[in-house]
Symmetry: C2
Subunit: 333 residues, 2 copies
């Protein structure tokens, strides 16, 4: 099956580039209620499943023990931009557990957001691991291990007890079996497991509704999604898509980006989970796709639907501020 074109990029009156992809919308019972493209395809969720990876952090009691609220929980499920507030909060989380940046295994990188990078370049000689977009997730990992008395060193490795807990959560939430055969290494060095796209969507329907999850897990899932919706800046950053999307319909939509064109989302009030991937891995297309599908699913509320539709159609300007084209989602009916 050839995945359909879901996003067009125009210049002048012509289409300049096209993005193909697949989208699965699944309800809490696991039924596919809308789709485009090959939804059985195995997809690495990458950072789009950070809310699932954060389950042990909340379920274990670590988040409570260290007195964390919405911001810290949102940051534990974030791909943040490395803004000062993100870096400071990740450092504070580690300090609560008596840990420091030295304990992080995610590696260091400069911000990939150019405005933030300019600020970082002027403020510091080099980035440290707190600047890593995954530092909040890793701070959560460190807190989870410390709280449980699990040896910290090597916490990012496949065989470490923390990664086993995360693997169990992934299998339980998505219903997919994951192991070495579907395992890759993520940017921050932890395992990432390829799962069928529709299983991932089902997982987020379960996260949003609690259906099919044990009470402790259902409660943790709801708390994580609520924290992200309440503090979208801490899930992403200034002007970023996850922040903009969740701010457009406050408290009603969860959305999280992942590398290589992945997005996971949920609409709790409709009991729906969404997972999508742009075949070619391009973020601009995944952002347009998720905005468009969320807009369509919220059609019963024209205000919310229109706000989301606006994000699915972005004007592109050149260095002189002239409008040169658009990025637009073109979903099938």
């Amino acid at each position: 099956m050839v995945n359909p074109v879901l996003v067009e990029v125009t210049r002048g009156q012509r289409i300049e580039s096209r993005h193909r992809g697949m989208i699965a919308v699944v309800d809490e019972s696991g039924s596919l209620v809308w789709s485009a493209g090959e939804t059985d395809a195995l997809v690495f969720p990458r950072s789009a499943c950070k809310a699932i990876q954060a389950l042990p952090f909340v379920e274990s009691g670590a988040a409570d023990t260290y007195g964390f609220g919405d911001r810290e929980i949102a940051l534990s499920a974030a791909s943040h931009s490395g803004e000062d507030a993100h870096i400071a909060l990740a450092g504070q989380m580690l300090a609560r557990a008596g840990r420091s940046v030295e304990d992080l295994e995610c590696g260091a990188h400069w911000s990939t957001d150019s405005k933030v990078l300019i600020h970082q370049a002027r403020a510091r000689e080099a980035p440290d691991a707190l600047c890593n977009n995954c530092s909040g997730k890793h701070a959560g990992f460190v807190c989870t291990c410390t709280h449980q008395g699990i040896g910290l060193k090597g916490y990012s490795g496949y065989d470490h007890p923390l990664q086993q807990q995360i693997r169990d959560a992934m299998e339980n939430v998505t219903g997919a079996v994951v192991g070495h055969d579907v395992c890759g290494t993520d940017g921050c060095s932890i395992p990432t497991y390829a799962v069928p796209l529709k299983a991932l969507a089902h997982g987020f329907a379960k996260m949003a509704t609690g259906t099919g999850l044990e009470p402790v897990r259902a409660k943790a899932a709801q708390r994580i999604l609520s924290a992200c919706m309440a503090e979208p800046f801490y899930v992403s950053g200034t002007g970023r898509a996850c922040n903009t999307l969740m701010s457009a319909v406050p408290g009603r939509v969860f959305a999280k980006t992942g590398a290589e064109g992945v997005f996971c989302a949920a609409i709790p009030e409709l009991g729906l989970g969404i997972a999508l991937k742009c075949e070619d891995g391009t973020t601009r297309a995944a952002e347009a796709m998720v905005s468009a599908v969320l807009s369509r699913l919220m059609h019963a509320d024209p205000g919310a639907s229109d706000a989301l539709a606006g994000l699915a159609h972005q004007t592109m300007k050149n260095w002189n501020g002239m409008e040169v084209g658009v990025i637009r989602a073109v979903l099938p009916n």
Copy 2:
């Protein structure tokens, strides 16, 4: 027609993302000698045709009048990274014509190369138009107008005499008719014209061989391509694909990237022109595609072919330096 997958991006043992595209290889007579995908498709060449856009600069005598050599001519056909040497040389070109940064109409932007951006952010408050990746091309435009006594203001506009000269050169070299119906606005605000991919490839075969061009144009074309091959840093920048490709087979291959996944290239010794586009506009894929097709075309010289093949297969490392996957071209036979 659905364009074929030409580049795969892997993670662990799995393919994570796929890029489709089209490639045309055309000889000096205009015959398509190898292709993949839809080569009749109209494609905006964007910056990949800067060598054609630089023809009036050399043909008019401007480059000679101001005493420019390979570096300045290479910069006039460049998408540079905004490194200090690029910025300085663009400024020197303008000064030779009694002009300055104030005359540039390309707009200003920070470098899109993160290493260069870090340096720029520490060295200056804000970017000026000399930092624009097109500042060398625009400096060439300013010199061309000044030398010819053409009013400078508005030189980036469709109806300005300079853009008419460039349009004439595009039509003559590619054999395509270009006008408002295929016109878009480029990042640096000048018109860009969509032409059939195979016409673009034929244009670069003509540029490389002179076949079918008037003597003055043939000489100018050869001078521009030779200058780019001699000074590949000034066509692009440190570690950039055009620089790496042209440095891998010194003096034997011309290659120039364009936005939205375009690449144009030529192999003068074989009389071949190449034009390609990644359907989804992704640079990493266009770079793998051009490296692979150049490698294949140079199969008679295993040393050169192998050097280019290595660039068509790039290892990806994560923030800890771990190998996580590859970007690899997968051209059909």
